[in-house]
């Protein structure tokens, strides 16, 4: 429900209540005025009757239209009493409420009772009139509110909607130029646009800085590693190196390699997070998997692992081929690394899913933590604990689901590409 519609509905309800209360108030005020007028009118008539009474006091009861007068037997104090009464209306031929005045006048020591009643406007006429006019006014108001609502939502909210569409198409990655929001004559919108302009600019430059930092950090680490690596190699070539010394150098080199891999993996994770892998193409996953398995064949054979594959040909996935390669490589790597000698691996690829099942010892960590960074089953192993974190990140990026299950000594990692 949009803002204008909601405001209109609230307005319609509130105005309905206002009209109801207003109607009651108007009715009361009008009735009061009419009553006053009627009283004045009756009193005028009473005065005229009094004058007539003084001139020619009646002997008997006089009963005319809406007028009674009769002499009283006893002397009574003068008084005027107003009251309401129901009288048959002569023209309308129905009972109508009338205003009645009963007065006692004393003329020449004799008391006379005078009763007058009349009606100027009937209360139900006033009520009918009020209701009719209020309903018409309410309908006009309703129409006006709806028309104005839609017009204003179109004209006043136009710049707002333009701003919205600008934000919608906002992308972090287009650095450099500022985002331009439409000019608006409305102060609030102008302030909003100004704020958004500043904010998007800031967000972009911060993002840029962060990106540069994480990329640079990764490169800057590789350079000193390269220097150390070179030095170690020159050192190793030197004369008179003992077996122990060379062993130490090799161990330093291995550690250095891990450091380099670590920084490389972290930079990949950052790049995925920064959505830098955006070269989407139609990748033939079956072909990629087959050629990767060829590369791995020797490593699999070296561990005497039984490999069974069931690969559906012509499985196409729309994604960045680098990421898909990483996904496959890391999963296959994982199944070899955590396998044992003479173990087995079953790999299957269908249109819907990619699955790797391998033998291996029990996990000694919570399966839910398997995909978090730096979690590894064997803390002392040379693995970085980033492989599955990268796989998870890639799956999240493309909306694939990644599931780990274990049955007996069999570990199953399943990537589902399409849900249905």
């Amino acid at each position: 429900m949009n803002l204008i519609l909601r405001v209109t509905i609230v307005f319609v309800f509130v105005s309905l209540i206002v009209f109801l209360i207003g109607g009651v108030i108007s009715f009361n005020i009008m009735m009061r005025e009419v009553n006053q007028e009627q009283r004045r009118f009756l009193i005028e008539r009473l005065d005229r009757v009094s004058v007539m009474l003084e001139r020619r006091p009646p002997k008997d009861t006089i009963d005319r239209n809406k007028f009674f007068m009769y002499p009283l037997a006893e002397f009574t104090e003068e008084r005027v009493i107003f009251s309401d009464t129901l009288v048959m209306h002569s023209q309308l031929e129905r009972i109508e409420p009338h205003l009645k005045v009963e007065a006692i006048r004393n003329v020449n020591g004799k008391s006379y009772a005078i009763i007058l009643y009349d009606i100027i406007i009937e209360p139900d006429d006033i009520q009918d009139g009020l209701v009719e006019s209020l309903v018409k006014m309410y309908l006009i108001l309703l129409l006006a509110v709806i028309v104005i609502g839609f017009l204003s939502s179109y004209y006043f909210l136009k710049p707002f909607n333009e701003t919205l569409s600008v934000i919608k198409s906002f992308s972090l990655r287009e650095s450099g130029q500022k985002v331009h929001f439409p000019r608006s004559g409305i102060r609030e919108l102008r302030r909003l646009n100004q704020f958004l302009e500043d904010m998007t600019h800031k967000v972009r430059s911060d993002y840029q800085l962060l990106k540069e930092f994480s990329e640079n950090a990764s490169h800057e680490i590789q350079t000193p590693i390269a220097i150390i690596q070179g030095k170690l190699e020159v050192l190793m070539e030197g004369e008179h190196m003992s077996e122990e010394q060379i062993g130490q150098i090799i161990s330093a080199q291995n550690t250095l390699k891990r450091l380099s891999n670590l920084s490389h993996s972290l930079s990949i994770l950052t790049k995925i997070e920064n959505k830098e892998f955006d070269k989407i193409s139609r990748v033939n996953l079956s072909d990629r998997l087959n050629s990767l398995l060829d590369e791995f064949r020797e490593l699999i054979d070296l561990k005497s692992i039984m490999l069974e594959t069931e690969i559906t040909p012509e499985v196409f996935i729309e994604a960045d081929d680098v990421l898909l390669d990483l996904l496959l490589t890391n999963l296959i790597n994982n199944s070899i690394r955590h396998n044992w000698e003479n173990g087995d691996i079953q790999i299957s690829l269908t249109q819907k899913a990619f699955e790797v099942v391998n033998s291996g010892k029990d996990l000694d960590l919570d399966p839910d933590e398997l995909f978090t960074r730096f979690k590894k089953s064997n803390q002392s192993s040379s693995s970085l604990g980033l492989g599955l974190a990268i796989v998870k990140k890639i799956c999240d990026f493309y909306g694939f689901s990644l599931k780990y299950t274990q049955s007996g000594k069999q570990h199953r990692l399943k990537v589902v590409f399409r849900k249905n």
Binding site: Q222, I227, Q229, I246, I336
Partner: protein, 225 residues
Amino acid sequence: MKLLLVEDQLELANSIVNYFSREGDVCEAANSFNRASEKLYGYQYDILILDLMLPDGNGMNLLSLVKENWPQMGVVIISAKNALDDKLKGLDLGADDYLPKPFHLAELNARTRAVFRRRHQKGQNLLTFKEIELNLETHEAKVNGSTLELTRKEFELLHYFFVNENRLLTKQTIAEHLWGDYMDSADSFDFVYQHIKNLRKKIASAGGNDYLKTVYGVGYKLKDE
């Protein structure tokens, strides 16, 4: 082989120059875009080893300059940026190879030599060491004229030893050369030993001598004693 190394990290440059000089190659170093172009205009080089990140200019520009003026010169890019973009761009601009930092000097040596052979020794596809002969075109290995039945990996391994003659190649270096990124799944590099063992066996049965020396159990060296 005459090399120009463009690398702003002095320490790394020293190691590389040192490594190549021992091989008997001439290797000069420049640490900036300007120094490199001065040297390029002044002297003749076979191969340019280029770091893409230079303090006073983009390495890519230097690459275009070289390709424009000295199209015969082979270019090997070494870069701390392991970005696929840079790699593709570099190769598109005419670089012959791309090696991300950090690398083993033996690997740089092998790659540089491969580029040198392709660029400047056309037709010379034969590498020989004593009675062993490698044909890089047909991927054939011969000992005293009789052909060895080598797998692709065994041939590559032997080739790697040939270009790094007399140098200690650790198991790690060999594994990385042969399997690249995939060797991450290996728990140890003992499988390198399997290949060496097979290679020795094949050479010996063809009547060749064993020139693959085991060094302290950490690596191997192709050496004639």
